[in-house]
Amino acid sequence: MLLDDALVTLNRAFGVLRRRNVPIEGLALHPSGTAGVSRLTFVLKADAATADRVAQQFHKMIGVRSVMVLANEDSTTEAKR
């Protein structure tokens, strides 16, 4: 996801996963290339439905600009959204 470069936004993103008890297998945070915007990638251990649900919760957070589910275990397409 692309999100505002702010600790509080990062904290909220973790909160979404913690509340739903979705384990994080990996994560990476990088500058996105646009000033003030970071790119955050989570690798989650979750089925497609959970990943989708989590993505929707991320999507509605203030400070999150876009969310993509890159790959689902049981999805055939590379990029779903």
């Binding site: 904290n11 649900r53 929707q56 999507h59 203030i62 400070g63």
Partner: protein
């Protein structure tokens, strides 16, 4: 022309610029610069509460009644933490509240300074957004943005934490710019499972097709109908199609109770015919609701035959709790208006007849004649049906939801999602300030009233003529009911002592009354209602009355408890 202003002055100006007229708050060390600046801004009326929780609930009540942002202010540490319950209530019920908290000065933050708490961390999961202002140059923009964020899309609370040294920082003042990240608001789109998000029109067409083919359709109207002021649209949809309407706890007063197509409230304490209608429906049109577990009971057995059309502003709600056939993301008013245009006129007479067959006589038994019905009817009579009712949490809340006759939009206000006892009294103060020309009744149990009854002092000091009704059954009634049904009638810690409410009111200089018989109702309630200032009426009601019907938690809507369990009866 520029001038040098302190952060505190800028904060006041930014609130004035945002159109704020009322602030509920309580001062303390870390917010003193703000309170120092406040008297220079007489446009901002400050209401001094007796507990910060009340400030947050009052701001929430103000927001729900006015549709504008409610603002509350507290100091750092204990002041800020006291706001938490009120913010959580506003969060669960989508109420636009902005909370401003003082914080220790920046160099002290993170050092466990006196009255430092990480209020940002504490409120992360119960706010839509929160900000700690790091520099005075950001302050005006942050306030403007916070006000916008609280209101836009699905409303909710926002917190602004302002370190004391930022309040004291002086800079050259420039009027606020536009919010930094104005979000586009919810753009309407349809979200059907398995398909890519289509256009709003596709969703509306699909919904209209489902409605056309339905034999047993239902409309379920939630809080979104009130937030979007979609009253006329929902009524038009019902009348064009003859589809009966169910209003959820927070949807009550979104559709007139007396309307021939109105069925009542669903869920845990919903009437039998309402829940049966859900279980028999083949199409449900859910407008602005989240299919909360108190509404659905066990979701596995919820509406087993129904295909659900879900109209909802927040796309994350669609498919979250129940599977949907057609999801339409958008404003309830806009989408419903389009749906009205797209549906063909029809009637549902046979289905209505079918539902009428489910109607049960009410089974609640009262020893005396002072039943919730008679009490609520007397409030309706005294106020000519024109008051706003704010309820607390418990049995009385369910009785009011089911038995009060709501005819006017947005006149029922309650803490639904959080179910926060102590809500009614302070929220009613906020409602009065939003609707100064109307009457507001705060209806509480003897438990919830005692949680925030200190606010009577606020009413007196600030001249807030709230009418308070206390349903005194000597118990934490709703919990006692659960103990009766599910815990072998072991009334552990639910009998609750009350002070003499008439004398208590008198100590505050508030007229207080006690009603023990229905024959006294018209006179006493009439007098309390007519008081120029606040008034309190205690209703001494049956101690062990229950709210029926009841779906046991996690149970199916098809299996209500409809009467006294045999083993537990016999008082």
């Amino acid at each position: 022309m520029s001038e040098m202003l302190s952060g505190a002055e800028i904060l006041c100006r930014a609130l004035v610029d945002a159109g704020v007229e009322v602030i509920f708050g309580y001062p303390g060390g870390a917010i003193m610069p703000f309170y120092h600046a406040l008297p220079d801004h007489p446009q901002l009326r400050h209401i001094l509460v007796r507990h910060e929780q009340a400030a947050a609930h009052a701001a929430d009540g103000y927001a729900r009644a006015s549709g504008r942002v409610g603002v509350c202010v507290a100091t750092s540490g204990p002041g800020a933490t006291n706001l938490v319950t009120g913010l959580a209530a506003a969060h669960m019920d989508n109420s636009p509240v902005v909370a401003i908290t003082g914080q220790v000065s920046r160099p002290m933050i993170g050092r466990d300074a006196f009255q430092e708490t990480d209020i940002i961390g504490i409120t992360l999961p119960i706010t839509k957004q929160n900000y700690q202002v790091q520099d005075v140059t950001e302050l005006a923009d942050v306030v403007a943005e916070a006000m916008a964020v609280a209101l836009e899309g699905r409303p909710g609370p926002v917190l602004i934490d302002v370190p004391k040294d930022v309040q004291n920082q002086k800079i050259e003042w420039h009027p606020p710019q536009k919010p930094r990240h104005p979000r586009a608001g919810a753009r309407g789109q349809s979200l059907t499972p398995g398909a890519s998000p289509g256009s709003l029109e596709d969703g509306v067409r699909a919904a209209a097709r489902l409605i056309k083919g339905a034999e047993r359709p239902l409309i379920m109207a939630g809080h979104g109908v009130i937030l979007a002021e979609a009253y006329a649209e929902v009524q038009a949809l019902a009348e064009k199609t003859g589809i009966p309407v169910i209003t959820t706890l927070l949807g009550i007063s979104g559709f007139p109770d007396g309307h021939a197509l109105h069925l009542g409230m669903p869920g845990m304490h919903g009437e039998v015919h309402v829940n049966r209608a859900i279980q028999h429906a083949d199409v449900i049109i859910g407008i602005g609701l989240r299919f909360d577990d108190r509404v659905t009971g066990n979701t596995a057995s919820f509406a087993p035959q129904a295909r659900i059309i879900h109209i909802e502003l927040d796309r994350a709600e669609i498919g979250k709790n129940v599977p949907v056939a057609v999801g339409i993301v958008g404003d309830a008013r806009d989408v419903t208006r389009r749906l009205v245009a797209a549906v063909e006129p029809r009637r549902c007479e046979r289905w209505l007849e079918h539902i009428r067959g489910f109607v049960r006589p009410r089974t609640e038994a009262f020893r005396g004649d002072l039943s919730p019905e008679t009490i609520l009817a007397s409030i309706y009579e005294a106020s000519h049906g024109e008051c706003t009712i704010v309820t607390d949490v418990g049995q009385h809340q369910m009785w009011v939801a089911k038995l009060y006759r709501y005819e006017r939009p947005n006149t029922h206000i309650t803490s639904g999602g959080l179910g926060a006892m102590g809500f009614a009294v302070p929220a009613a103060m906020g409602v009065h300030l939003a609707r100064p020309n109307g009457t507001v009744w705060a209806i509480s149990g003897d438990g919830g009233f005692q949680m925030n009854m200190a606010e009577m002092a606020t009413m007196v000091q600030e001249g807030l003529p709230v009418k308070m009704a206390v349903f005194n059954n000597g118990y934490l009634g709703m919990v006692r009911q659960w103990q009766q049904f599910f815990h072998e009638k072991r009334y552990s810690c639910t009998p609750i002592w009350s002070p003499d409410y008439v004398k208590l009111a008198a100590a505050y200089g508030i007229p207080g009354y006690r009603v023990k018989q229905a024959s006294e109702l018209a006179d006493v309630v009439g007098r309390a209602n007519a008081e120029a200032g606040p008034a309190l009426v205690e209703f001494v009601i049956e101690q062990e009355a229950n709210v029926y019907p009841m779906i046991p938690p996690g149970g199916s809507l098809s299996e209500p408890i409809e009467a006294e369990p045999a083993a537990a009866a016999g008082h």
